[in-house]
Symmetry: C2
Subunit: 238 residues, 2 copies
């Protein structure tokens, strides 16, 4: 795949419905990109992909490096790109909302396309959650959300990997900014609820206009009733 | 592109908003498929692509063969595929709704994926409409719809080219069945409102799970406020 094209496996509405038994093998996913986020079978933890590695960040706080050569892990949902930043900048922000504003200024006229971005440096705080996995088949994301583990890391060095998706593609992707975090030591991380830089951190980002959406082909997905639960997505992925 | 992958330029919500000044050159579009439908600059008529030709079916009843080698025509919206049917059948139907039922039986468990299909033969009747083009910049599709030209052809030989899109992708594509018609003589056609086969006609179709969505990159698209107008889409594309 060319640089800065989005490869997405499945749609968020499917994840919301709890379609998590099967997915794309990570060995195949990494052929489409080196920068991304997603989840694992039965939504067990949060996925982050950077620097040619894929990590599973679990709710017990442990982090597993995924074997992408011949491992058996699969992604019921994932977004990746071959990341080549077109914009780099030193930026500072005191909240996830503040970060959004900074990015909107860095990328004017992009609200109807995707962005991919990465932020490296020292963070005053990063609040994360990790999903602990489905307890029964097709448990919905709204249910998992109720018992998610949250953590706040302070004075921590690490990387944020994220995507911004257009509002009108809510349900396909997660509208707005969706980002995962991992420390430099690769020992802590999760889905970012809030974040605050310590002074300036290094931002890099690019616009994605070409989207490759792979719809699953298995009974679980094919039989699912997929409806847009915009409120639910904001709740569990916001 | 591989067989039976969907290539789509822009999204239906953009078309609804009247974003029609620019688009993908047809010379580029045809590289992605040989079977499809779409529209033209300022929504002037209906596009149908089959048998390695692209036709513009205009509201005055004329049909133009598009020069896809070095022509200047562009598609503000189009869907194409390299069509290789996996299912062929002799089918009969007495309405567009009846055709939908036949296809649902031919393709069980596909409601969350796309279908592409083609139907050739003798039709007792085919009711079509053709959009007459925007009268001012950004005129919305709902407005164009009010003065669309409709026609009913009877005892006519021709081809239907269509796509079925998942309900949850309404706004990206046209949810449900969306089909265009052209006669064997390539002298009449349009966007199909209703159709009735004369006895049995030849059906061929395939499932599409890989979707390549190219989002436009021009000021007109980038500045558009894109919202899902599901009711409007059903009205103008149903």
């Amino acid at each position: 795949m060319a640089y800065n094209e989005l490869y997405q496996y499945s749609v968020v509405s499917s994840l919301m419905e709890g379609i998590g038994e099967t997915g794309l093998p990570y060995s195949q996913l990494v052929k489409h990109g080196d920068h991304g986020l997603g989840t694992f079978r039965r939504m067990a933890g949060e996925m982050i992909c950077l620097d040619n590695e894929v990590y599973q960040m679990k709710s017990d706080g442990s982090i597993v490096t995924i074997d992408t050569s011949n491992g058996t892990d699969v992604a019921p949902f994932a977004m990746v790109t071959r990341f080549q930043p077109s914009v780099t900048a030193k930026i500072a922000f005191d909240s996830k909302h503040g970060l959004s504003d900074v990015m909107s200024n860095l990328f004017p006229k992009t609200k109807n396309r995707y962005l991919s971005f990465r932020i490296d440096g020292l963070f005053q705080s990063v609040a994360v959650r990790t999903a602990d996995g489905q307890r029964y088949e097709h448990e919905k994301l709204r249910e998992l959300h109720k018992r998610q583990t949250t953590n706040e890391f302070t004075n921590v060095r690490g990387s944020l990997i994220g995507f911004r998706s257009p509002e009108f593609l809510q349900g396909v992707s997660v509208a707005g900014d969706h980002l995962h975090f991992i420390t430099d030591e690769r020992d802590r991380g999760g889905h970012v609820l809030d974040c605050k830089s310590e002074g300036e951190v290094q931002f890099s980002g690019s616009i994605l206009s070409a989207v490759h959406l792979q719809l699953p082909d298995d009974d679980e997905y094919n039989e699912a009733e997929l409806n847009l639960d915009a409120d639910g997505i904001r709740k569990v992925e916001g």
